[in-house]
Amino acid sequence: MSGQAGFGIVADYLQAKYRQVQDLQPDEPGAALAPDYDLIDSRVLDSLAFVEFILLVEEHSGREISIDTVSREDFRTVESIRKRFFDGP
């Protein structure tokens, strides 16, 4: 799976992590994760969760990701992730 369907799965994962970081209960309403929200400074993505996340992006974008070819800015926001890994051919 790749393209917009794959991106939806990655976005849902980040939304769930965002709720965790905010310590929201499952039945508690919370704001949607904004496309420009800083995932790194807010610790939605941290060092130890990163491996799991990069594998999720790899699986759903259909692109093998070498850490040597990406930067932390590629993972800064939902929008930067979409542009870097899900836009284009």
Binding site: D46, S47, V51, E58, E59, E64, S66, I67, R72
Partner: protein, 309 residues
């Protein structure tokens, strides 16, 4: 040694036991010095129809996923799992070298700097033979998946966390090296790589245990309970994610296993998997518990002072 010293440097300078250990380690490194570039024979190929890793150490073998594969598939998985294992070594050594080079001959680490020269030299050589194995017999080194983002956010604990991560990495790897060095089902080249690494790592682990225990003993006097629990939680997550790294989807792909990401998810979600994690981390868990860095089990939250009494 219970007094609080104002700096790490003074802590290390005043510990004569630590200095004795360092001198012994330097002596052993000088005595056992070898030329790794001439040590291995590197045959053209290694046999494909056998295990490249001890099957009992393969990550899926303690789960319900293992028996779903044929013997031929397991042989292929063991080959690519070993390439992943040595690739993780290459990337782990890169982090180690980076951190030790950043500290050698700095004010805080004047005392162990003589030994740091040996660690840097030996680790450079280990990185070379692990990379050589991957490139010769796998045609590649698997990419690193790690990126340095936020940690626990306790700057006073930076040295402690760095040396703890390095120790955990070295102890985890050594469990595999020690076992596979003696496993006669494996090709002699594989046994030799593991044997040589195990021999050197025993010194690095001895050093790591000393410095981690000392730095933690210092932090116990400086940090509050909440900060100490944050460190404990972080190190437990680090240990668990280090073992998760052994289950790399690309190795299943290269072994010709369909849906490699789903295989990884099934292995990590299997009820047998936590037992595997605890088994390969047993030595590290014991050390962390004995030094009171861990107050509870690997999969448990840190125990509060009230609960412990």
């Amino acid at each position: 040694m219970n007094a609080t010293y104002p700096t790490v440097a003074e802590r290390l300078v005043h510990d004569t036991g630590f200095k004795d250990v360092l001198q012994r380690l330097v002596d052993m490194s000088e005595r056992d010095y070898y030329n790794p570039y001439r040590l291995f024979e590197w045959p053209q190929t290694l046999p494909q129809d056998c295990y490249w890793m001890s099957p009992e150490l393969m990550v899926e073998q303690s789960t319900e996923v293992g028996p779903t594969f044929t013997e031929t598939q397991l042989h292929a998985i063991s080959k690519w799992q070993s390439i992943n294992f040595y690739s993780l070594n290459v990337h782990g050594i890169r982090e180690l070298l980076h951190e030790v080079v950043a500290r050698i001959h700095t004010a805080d680490f004047a005392v162990p700097s003589a030994y740091f020269h040996h660690i840097i030299g030996e680790e450079n050589e280990h990185m070379w033979f692990f990379a050589e194995f991957c490139r010769r017999y796998g045609g590649k080194i698997y990419p690193s998946r790690a990126m340095s983002l936020a940690g626990p956010g306790i700057p006073e604990a930076d040295h402690f966390l760095v040396f703890s991560r390095l120790l955990i990495f070295e102890e985890l790897v050594d469990v595999f090296n020690q076992h596979m060095a003696q496993d006669e089902r494996l090709d002699p080249t594989i046994r030799k790589v593991n044997e040589v690494h195990h021999h050197d790592e025993s010194r690095h682990i001895a050093f790591g245990r000393q410095i981690v225990a000392m730095l933690y003993s210092d932090l116990r006097e400086r940090l509050d309970d909440g900060q100490l629990w944050a460190l404990e939680s972080y190190l437990k997550r680090y240990m668990r994610s280090s073992v998760d790294g052994l289950c790399e989807p690309l190795m299943y792909r290269d072994a010709g296993i369909p849906d490699p990401y789903a295989v990884r998810r099934r292995v990590l979600a299997d009820p047998g998997y936590p037992g595997y994690v605890e088994r390969v981390l047993k030595r590290s868990i014991s050390f962390m518990t004995n030094t009171r860095i861990f107050t509870s089990g690997l999969f448990e939250e840190p125990r509060t002072a009230e609960a412990a009494t």
